[in-house]
Amino acid sequence: MGESGADTQLVKRVQKGDKKAFDLLVLKYQHRIIKLVSRYVRDPSDALDVAQEAFLKAYRAVPNFRGDSAFYTWLYRIAINTAKNYLVTLSRRPVEAEHGGPDNDHFELDSMLQDVTTPEDMLLTDEITHTIVKAIEDLPDDLRTAINLREVEGLSYEEIAEVMTCPIGTVRSRIFRAREAIDNRLKPLLE
């Protein structure tokens, strides 16, 4: 089926009016889209708004998605265009309206602060990353290799089975066990 096949199944449901299926797509792609938009929109709060707008635009346009390209490719284009449109709008906006006038002494400082993500968010992101990396280090070799080949190298189960010289069923089981072990460490952090 392939990863895009799973997306196709979800998209078909959305096209039939299933909003919950779109929530699953948002959960899947939220980080990629936020990261992508952040390359264009430096202010983190604005980047989140633009990313949300991109998802909304995608939802409104999803009935016309014909599957000529992968869903993520399509979503990626929408996100890029939304971010570019935002920048165009921002460049047309008068500076006075945005920052309270050119005489504002704190303009430079405000601008600098807006570019910095909140310490709490940064801390959580660091903690999440650290926890996951540590959990992977602690995995048995066969599970670590399987999850790395899948998530980092992007190999299919069939390709991993060939590399690791084991049946596809074993690959499926190893990848799941690796995820389960990582998730057991991650879950308490997010609750």
Binding site: L27, H31, A47, L48, L56, T125, I132, I147, R179, L190
Partner: protein
């Protein structure tokens, strides 16, 4: 949550779950918050490993988007503009009618001369059909019968124009259908 449900979730994440099982899993995902949370965490793990996690990830983001989507009407496929078939048939009939009138106009101009030349017996071998039935029927063919009497000055001029148009194929007169002279034999009763 059953362990095999999570294993299916893991396989679905990688696009390695058969279609039927995937449909059942999606049904479960939509109704089971715990399974849905696992879906989100599994993707978070994937994003960290692929270095796709943005700095300062906002945990409430997906909930905000979900709330906004819930407030949206269900989008509909934009209808394609369809030209009704009747319209195109009527258009074709109109074009045929205009072409018929153009031929009739050319021929009638040639027959009306100011100095009243000897009359030509002019007949159309096939009557033009009424507009309503004029769909894809062939255009009427004009048949000119010469009565045998000599032409007047204008009468001599018309055959000249026709001959010129017939032999000058390289430069057709704009808007006028090329004239083809057909000579036939008709036995007198």
């Amino acid at each position: 949550m059953r362990k095999d449900g999570l294993e299916d979730l893991s396989a679905f994440l990688d696009g390695e779950l058969p279609h039927g099982s995937a449909e059942r899993l999606i049904d479960a995902l939509e109704g089971d918050e715990e399974l849905k949370a696992a879906w989100a965490r599994y993707h978070l793990i994937a994003d960290v490993l692929a270095r796709r996690l943005p700095a300062g990830a906002d945990r409430a983001f997906s909930e905000r988007v979900s709330g906004a989507i819930a407030a949206e009407p269900v989008p509909l496929r934009s209808a394609r503009r369809r030209v009704p078939r009747v319209k195109s048939v009527v258009g074709l009939a109109m074009a045929a009618a205009v072409a018929g009138l153009a031929i009739a106009g050319i021929l009638s101009t040639g027959s009306k001369a100011p100095s009243e030349p000897p009359p030509l017996s002019f007949s159309v071998s096939q009557q033009s059909p009424p507009m309503s039935s004029m769909e894809l029927s062939p255009l009427p063919i004009a048949t000119v019968k010469w009565s045998g009497e000599p032409y007047g000055e204008a009468g001599r001029f018309s055959p000249y124009i026709v001959s010129h148009n017939q032999s000058n194929r390289g430069l057709p007169i704009p808007g006028v259908i090329p004239y083809v002279r057909a000579v036939g034999y008709e036995a007198e009763p």
